[in-house]
Amino acid sequence: MTIARDGDEMELVRRAGQDSEAFGELYSRHVGRIYNYIYYRTGDYQDAEDLTARVFQRALHHVGSFQDQGVPFSAWLYRIAHNLVANWHRDRSRRPIVPLEDQAIETRASSHPEVLALAEEQNRLLLEAVRLLPGDRQQLLILKFVERQSNAEIGEIMGRTEGAIKSLYHRTLNALRDQIKDSGEVRRKG
């Protein structure tokens, strides 16, 4: 995000407390990202829609008291989303799994059924492993791979330094590798 865009965004945020159009513009800019974040954290389209709606309803009620402390508006929205997802997980106390048929899968051009089935199985296994990670590591992966944010931007959103994000990323990859190996071994034994 450029500085000009940041300034423009903060101006919108200032107006959004009273001006519906300004809030509508903020909504249009961020609804997709928040939806993606929640979708990958919950693994369910309907829950993602429900929680996305609650994020923006909460934002609408509190945008008037938003204070510019040098962090992007999106970081504030992600924090609301993060808290709601944490409550959602606590309420369910289980980790749901993405319905395989709903998941967007990008595979190499191949129409061979065995290759496609293998890719789908790998995809499912990976997403299961991602969802077993702690919330902050899931957030990091979603921001990095789904949102294509840089480490510096992720740091702003998560309230950490760029170095801390790099370090967390490497620890996350290692944890993910161990998780995948473990689940693979369990499957082989089963």
Binding site: G24, Q57, E106, R177, I180, K181
Partner: protein, 92 residues
Amino acid sequence: MELGKKLNARKIESWLERSLVPVEPSPGFVSELRGRLVVLRGSRMPSPWMVVLALSALLIIIVTWFGLGLRLVLALLGLIGLVERRRRSTET
């Protein structure tokens, strides 16, 4: 399955790149939520200052009407007293 082979960070990254792809919320959901937010904004509680202002205006109106009513009652009583005094003076 690739699990038998050695998994390294590069391989997991490329795997993540293929699996964690952006998903689009349905256009119906996006527009319906926008509509709900507009309705919510319309029905939102007014600010405390607006409430204070409205209550003050209401109080001023009540006091004004009360004052007017009191004046009317006093005028009526005065008129009655005047008529009564005139009636007594004519009787005597």
